[in-house]
Amino acid sequence: MGMTIIEKILTKAGGVPVKPGDLATVKVDVACLFDNNFMASVWRDVLHVEDPSKVVVVIDHRAPAAHVGSAHAHATARTFVEKFGIEHFHDIGYDQGICHVLMAEHGYARPGGVLLCSDSHTCSAGALNCAARGVGSPDMFYAVCKGETWFRVGETIRYELTGQLPHYAFMKDVFFKIAGEYGGHVSQNVEFGGPALGTLPIDARRTMATMGAELSAEFATFEPDDILFDYVKERTNVPFEPQIPDPDADYLDKREINLSEIRPLVALPDSVVNNSANVQDVAGTRLDQCFVGSCANGTFDDLSSVAQVLAGRRVARGTRFIITPGSQSIYRRALKAGIIEILMDAGAVVTNSTCGACGGGHMGIVGAGDTVITASTRNFKGRMGDPTAKIYMGSSATVAASAVEGAIADPTPYLS
């Protein structure tokens, strides 16, 4: 029987053929540490780094520092970088950004590779045909010191994408469809491919792969294609070995998703799994805050769709709209394209790149009783601040339309 993409990547990285149920021990190509690893309650003093060229250090969760605790963590990170001569360091400044965005942007995530980071949304690099998994801090220390890690090999669900997204629907809506219809994917891998792939830019694929964490999937991986190869080759000269699934790969299930049928959806508060609704079902719900950002929705394409909705309009009085680009590089690109001006003229507040409001860390923490719609990763009770806040989730365009109306709104009339 043939292998799925993940089975092939883990087989190559471990040197031993794997099948579901196995425990794979594999070499790690990229180990990314970020500011939370350096927090006083988490950090352990590292004495040996197996290969400093495979380590990336990013300051993103609270950047610039939100309080003394994060300032201390950032300082610990800088000391570590200095001590071991880590070249790939993204401090506050020009190359600042959310680690998963930087993995793609800087060519750290390469097709067929194994990528580890102790942020749950590391699966984001699955869009680039990587075996990328969010792990824990001990895993990171182990990978940094010894260059390897372990994975339990799960069964794979294949999502065959067909058709083409209508202009008013986005990959976020596709995610809501999958999460609403099929629920959690605990212990399973999800694999995306199919004829619609050619219509999906890397940004859109990253949104979906990032949200794999919310499905509780072990890995979320896309098939590679020329769009991906062009993207990666623009960013790195390091050779890579993409992996495609065998024609007789053994899937737990194969599910077709026709993108042409996707309509704007939202996740209702407290969970994104088994909790989807049509945007019309909740349209008119009054909003205190709107947010677009995070590793899932801080992409250039997200900012661009928000600008399309906001152009010539104003954010409703009584509603706050906070927008956080996924990296400073995306911020600069949007600035040069005139997008930032449109957002600010509409009354949105554009912050520097950071995880920010998504994790309730800083720059947009929500208050008691707030009703919020967000295009980010997660809407657990208390995720973005006070546990009494109600957090809806939508595509960036849905969030933008909702900001204009001050209430949850269908973006369709705003998009041409």
Partner: protein, 169 residues
């Protein structure tokens, strides 16, 4: 592997218990010990004082969904003897093993227990027994290499022994 076996009182938890319920954001920057009173403070206020060292958590599906924060470490520090769930979120399971919190997945286990009953968990044959009713189920095998990590108390003691990370003073 006798050290991992447990026999203790059961506390029942629902499906999809998430990491933010174990370490809320407002506790994140405190020391690990200071974080402990926040465990389940929104969903089960007072539980941290009621539970006793070595007690067992029995949960429904997808225990520990959410972030990579060291929630398993905090349950281990609090004194939870073992986690058994119908299934466990993959990231949480890694953290359980790597922080030395004994954990087993066992489909159907949540239906076999009422809160307050006594469970016996074996890490030799991965059976979970209800001492009160006599019922038992066999859970998913924990691979030998992961048992080795669990028995060592997680990855940190192993890395310390190899001189890879410094000992905590």
């Amino acid at each position: 592997m006798d050290g991992l076996n447990v026999r203790a009182r059961v506390w029942k938890f629902p499906e999809n218990v998430n990491t933010d319920q174990i370490i809320p954001n407002r506790a994140y920057y405190l020391s690990p010990e200071e974080q402990l009173p926040f465990i389940f403070d929104a969903m089960r206020p007072g539980w941290v004082d009621e539970m006793k060292n070595g007690d067992i958590i029995i949960a429904e599906r997808n225990f520990g969904m959410g972030s990579s924060r060291p929630a398993a470490r905090n349950l281990a520090l609090l004194g939870v003897g073992c986690l058994v769930a119908d299934n466990i979120n993959g990231l949480f399971y890694r953290n359980s093993v790597n922080f030395g919190l004994p954990a087993i997945e066992c489909s159907g286990v949540s239906d076999m227990f009422e809160e307050g009953q006594v469970a016996e968990v074996s890490f030799q044959d991965f059976t979970i027994r209800n001492i009160d009713t006599g019922e038992s189920l066999t859970g998913r095998e924990v691979p030998k290499s992961l048992l080795r990590i669990l028995k060592a108390g997680g990855l940190y003691p192993l890395l310390e022994d190899e001189g890879m990370i410094a000992l905590v003073e």
